[in-house]
């Protein structure tokens, strides 16, 4: 079953704009990860945030985590056409630490040049 829900389901922006995607989850977690997927095939890990962290940066990516609201957001600044992809958040199952992740349904981002 899906743990989380990404919001929005689809997002279309112009190159240079910022893109914000949100993720909500249901159970307590140890870590939350964001992955990117091109063309419905393999996923690529973007960033991991631990449950005791509130914000993390990696290049043009900024992730926030609010464990009280069971939600996270991914911000991509100064978007590029190459950022066009689906983005998924993933959490560990029921607060476990084994790594068998639960993914949301994803946000499909389209960046127009």
């Amino acid at each position: 079953s899906q743990q989380g829900e990404e919001d929005p389901q689809a997002l279309s922006i112009q190159e240079g704009e910022n893109a914000t995607m949100n993720c909500s989850y249901k159970t307590s977690i140890n870590n939350l990860q964001w992955y990117r997927q091109n063309s419905g095939r393999g996923l690529v890990h973007l960033i991991l945030i631990r449950s005791n962290e509130r914000e993390k940066h990696s290049g043009r990516l900024r992730v926030t985590l609010d464990t009280s609201k069971k939600s996270s957001s991914l911000l991509i600044t100064a978007s590029r056409a190459a950022d066009t992809a689906s983005y998924f958040c993933a959490t560990d199952r029921n607060g476990g630490s084994q790594g068998n992740l639960i993914f949301g349904k994803g946000t499909k981002l389209s960046v127009k040049p």
Binding site: F88, N100, K105
Partner: protein, 115 residues
């Protein structure tokens, strides 16, 4: 190899047939995961291995699905008596060890179509 590889890339089979999907993880990675992704959905966990043993197979949908990793490296996902509902992309991932703090490295997937 450089990354996780999966074979075949695409598999078309008929309802009722048996299929095997293969995953070659990154060398040295002890944890290996199988996920299934239907169109418009996120990946759904099936099973994961720590070494040769299945540490958690709670995501396998029924007893038609089985996976092995006999030498702690290559893994094979086996589906018996395939059904049309089994059509999906089957993704394999590996990580250095098991744990939600680990990055999972995904293969390109096998797209299975059951006619």
């Amino acid at each position: 190899g450089a990354g996780v590889s999966q074979t075949p890339s695409n598999k078309v089979t008929e309802k009722g047939k048996y299929v095997e999907l293969r995953c070659d993880p990154i060398s040295g990675h002890t944890a290996l995961y199988w996920y299934r992704q239907s169109l418009g959905q996120g990946p759904e966990f099936l099973i994961y291995f720590q070494g040769t043993g299945a540490a958690d197979d709670s995501g396998l949908p029924n007893d038609r699905f089985f996976a092995v990793r006999p030498e702690g490296s290559v893994s094979t996902l086996k589906i018996q008596r395939t059904e049309r509902g089994d059509s999906a992309v089957y993704l394999c991932a590996s990580s250095p060890t098991a744990g939600s703090q680990e990055t999972q490295y995904f293969g390109p997937g096998t797209r299975l179509l059951v006619l």
